[in-house]
Symmetry: D2
Subunit: 366 residues, 4 copies
């Protein structure tokens, strides 16, 4: 089953990139919450392409329509449906090549799963465009968490082999994270940011693409949320993060590097100061036994390079069962990472909101 | 909710390390499947401690009892309950230190979530011992998948900073994977294996611990299984892998390294040969758009060092709200990675079985 | 959580009667199924008001739009979203009385649950209108079941104290059920049908309303589908039937009357004839131990009278916390039972389809 | 899937009547709740057979063992596993007749679903004995609800065609309900109770059985709990009630009789008195739009007669595919209704607890 997620907040996502519309239903939101719709629009613009020279010139209007669940400027508590109608879709680009299985895309796997009946235009339901409704839902979740001063923010940690500094796992603060949200290319070190953009432009010129890693932090998340085993914070967040197209790795705290450490180093020793319990280090990224310990939650998400590149590639024709070559036309991003930032944050917000409601019920949010 | 997982195969895990018993209920198994109980016992022995010098001398008998769901040497199709009774538990070791929040463990987070009412002895429900029932369920799932020639196997990719070779992502074969299952310390390069064991023994002497990474491959998995978005293979597997205590990172295919590649390299170009569709490379680890493409599925799981070390550590007393020091006594593993191998494989088997049943129903398995 | 249902086919329903639109997302449909959209429209017209003199003159256009999941006249296998835009809504009728808690409606309970933030216009998300998307989904499910010759049909068993004959629980046939689908007022005995209509018209004149009971049969449903305990056919169907507004009772086979029987009578004795296993009687309505036995499945659903009546009624003003009187204006149905028939059938179809997929996977439907 | 139920409290039920043990895992209980284990034992004895002359002489020891989730006399908050070991099972009674499909039982349907591999002894997983763990879980839920003064109680409304009085839907009180819990044969009118017992004994002499109806009330349930559509109180309760073997009908409030009423009668008019909102009548059984309105919740559950009767019955041999006759031996109940009372109450308690947690989180219970 592809479209449904959640225990306490439930999402139902739908849409094909060249169908009539894409959207999402959010079920389980509390009633009476005012939403900052302009703030949501702003989040969605972070995802939309066509904003600057490093992105594709293809413009997507992500204007959305709330069909239900929002009345008199507040959530009703009943299911909220957000629709984004598809415009500016150039469908003629795809009809002729529907039997070409583009490398790195889900053309072949989607064909196999859906017996060739899926909407192939622009990737159909596999298109990165379908992350737009996810950003909407994530923006709603972020606003609700922010009412409790829980702040989520990210920066681009890597593009190709260019590395930004890391967030300070002990002292990262909410206002620093909020500043990141305002940047179209959020990095800590501006020079590294310039090098990253150069790398992206160079790839674009070479008709190629690059990947990257996003680092995300969550501050002020209360202690004692989550579970051991099957609903650990890591499980819940990883489940929804790996749902984002192009994600190939997720790690928490120090992540894979923790495997190189000794226990005497990786253990985060506790201390109490002014009746607040903290740790001297934060290699575990704020999560132990699947449950939050009050320290900043930190995780990293790895994105593969955009599969659509202009270079000629070997592939197959699925109908003729022949080896062919292809050259993907159209207007594509050399790097989706900057646009993926609000998707990652939104996904994390939804996961954490789901766990908050599990603990405190719906009244918590008010 | 901590104990329940799954859509088509459902698991319900329970137990505390020093309670009467631990176990798991498997719901949704097909009827009429004979199980190789000796094979299951063998899998469980791979997890049990006390087998060799690099592990803890603490012995755990993992004899299990099938209370239901198995009759006349076949599954009945009704829920199957496996119980492992706790023996050889030295509970007196824990009572005096229940208010000491051991660093790296879930003592503090569990205390916060469960208001101090959880069973603290030996980590209670957070103990690594609770992976034993997961190995049982995983062993059942592996046997069912193997009836369709789907083989899962792993090796230890890293211990600390010692690296083994990688699996060949294109050509890894089922018989190579099966050989790994027979090794207590599965590595490809025997010399690297020796270095790894040295590192573990050295940590043990220093009253410290080390972490590591397990690399797992799945071969002969059919094309077209999985979904885009919320039930992608990566989402499903990551969800259950991150449920395993001590896991801090999961990556698929080339994983985090894919972020350093160009699209022209990371894209796996297709070709058809003798009517079989394959790819020249396999950076995506056999999964595109969340769905299998027929190539070997590859992933890596990062384990942090065992939190229980003999060195003195700073921490707090949660009742007195004071800073204290502690020295964890007892008999602990300097490295859980070799014992975690059947847990990782079992978890993956359960996730893949769930997706197979989603596609083909229960009759598939027969 | 109100809007999500299902294990193998998942539904997400949304909408308020006076919002922009209402709709449903169906997730888990197989790919490649052509749908008879005219047939679906016809089903939806069976529900829509304003068709005849016994119904309300209020017209609802139930034209629907498929935003996703349907391409080249076949299901894609990806989530299918159906939207019905709200037109012909007279919202001014409701604003002045939003604090009046109409008896028999969900005004007060919805106010309590949603803290007064729900859309009160026309009942909002509680309106019977929200059954329109359910009829859509049910119509899709019915068409899929019909490809396997599984036929669902109903008749009005009771209006007030007027009783129609019962379906023959042993010999009810698919063609008889199909004929019922073509009738706007489906009954077996035409005279009883006339008496029922008289009763409805009389209630309308008296500014009152009447309730009724719908009897539904399912033929050719295969043996061995369903489960004991929590996913029994009765559990699954009752769950979705009781989701329909105004339903206050559900019974299977002989239903409540079985409590008056002796076991020697209520037991359905088996016999085998031409290698087909049948029963001499069918008091159990085709279900034993929660699983189908191959005999016709029979159940009855009880609907309370429409709460909206023109008579003056005592009630309260929730803001002023005062006792008041009210007279519900607007154009309302004296009896919703004839219009509820496609809702009941559709709900049952969805439940049975979900169980069929559990057994045979998605490929079953092709 | 048969064994798993719930959203906020999750149950996993397992066991066959002649297997090693039966049991249930409860997941999602709050931590720190003391349980009255003697009270639970008392509830389970209400279900156990062999207590009096109207029941079967077959004794079932329902001693239970808590393997996990209970420590220092309080719930830990981690999954709680309760096991009841099977003793006093006379398995030789069943081996010879495993191919005889007893009428009214799930022998044939279970054979079909489980391909003949199910444990047929004593009905296996279909046995009424498997309601014992459900009574355990229900007893825990009842105790938790009672901490908030929410009381559930029942009486036998009908045995065969003998009717007891009904509960007063407006004024039924908690202490009256509690008194019912202490009666082994709970009725309002003692004379009717005697007539019912006569009828049961007479059926026993005639080697036959009778069915009955249980009426249940819930008082002090707060307003605003539940949902429209798929998680309505009726849906949730009916789902779990119809999971109980032998249930063939469930109705709320006036139930099926509401279909005979006029709207002007069935509507429950509101009034406010001393700032408390009530209704003059309670035909809707305390539920409107799927949500509680504060009035007593009332429902009725119809049980068919025990299928196991001593009379000779026609049936089939499933292996030989022949018509045969059978006479069920063994020690069986002529009427399960008195023993089903704690099952019905427990089931309702679990369903209502699940909805309470949805609203108020886990902290509610403390």
């Amino acid at each position: 089953m592809s479209g449904i997620w959640g225990n306490n907040i439930k999402l139902s996502i739908f849409g094909e990139s060249h169908g009539k519309g894409i959207g999402i239903v959010m079920d389980g939101l509390p009633a009476g919450i005012p939403l900052d719709l302009d703030g949501i629009k702003k989040e969605m613009q972070r995802r939309a392409p066509g904003r600057n020279e490093i992105s594709t010139p293809r413009k997507e209007k992500d204007d959305f329509d709330l069909l239900s669940g929002y009345f008199n400027n507040k959530t009703t508590g009943t299911p909220l449906c957000c629709i984004i109608y598809n415009t500016n879709q150039q469908s003629k680009d795809y009809a002729a090549i529907k039997d070409t299985m583009r490398p790195g895309h889900a053309d072949y796997t989607g064909y196999a799963k859906y017996f060739g009946s899926n909407d192939y235009r622009g990737g159909g339901h596999f298109s990165g465009r379908i992350t737009a409704p996810l950003v909407f839902a994530g923006a709603v979740a972020k606003q609700i968490l922010e009412k409790k001063n829980i702040i989520i923010g990210s920066h681009i940690k890597n593009i190709g082999n260019i590395n930004d500094h890391a967030f300070d796992p002990l002292n990262i603060k909410g206002d620093v994270l909020k500043k990141m949200i305002d940047k179209t290319f959020p990095v800590i070190d501006a020079d590294k940011g310039l090098k990253m953009k150069e790398m992206i432009l160079k790839a674009k010129e070479e008709m190629d693409s690059v990947g990257g890693i996003i680092e995300t932090a969550v501050v002020n998340f209360p202690v004692g949320v989550g579970s051991p085993f099957f609903d650990s914070i890591e499980s819940k967040l990883a489940h929804i993060l790996f749902s984002i197209p192009a994600v190939k790795g997720v790690e928490f705290g120090v992540g894979f590097d923790i495997a190189k450490m000794k226990g005497s180093v990786s253990n985060d020793a506790y201390f109490i100061e002014k009746d607040q319990i903290k740790t001297y280090t934060n290699h575990n990224g704020g999560i132990l036994g699947g449950i939050s310990n009050g320290m900043p939650i930190l995780f990293r998400t790895a994105f593969k390079p955009t599969p659509s590149i202009g270079k000629i590639q070997k592939t197959i024709d699925i109908k003729k069962r022949e080896n062919i070559e292809t050259q993907v036309k159209g207007r594509h991003d050399p790097c989706i990472v900057p646009r993926a930032v609000p998707v990652v944050e939104g996904a994390a917000a939804i996961g954490l909101l789901d766990l908050m409601i599990e603990k405190d019920g719906i009244g918590w949010m008010l």
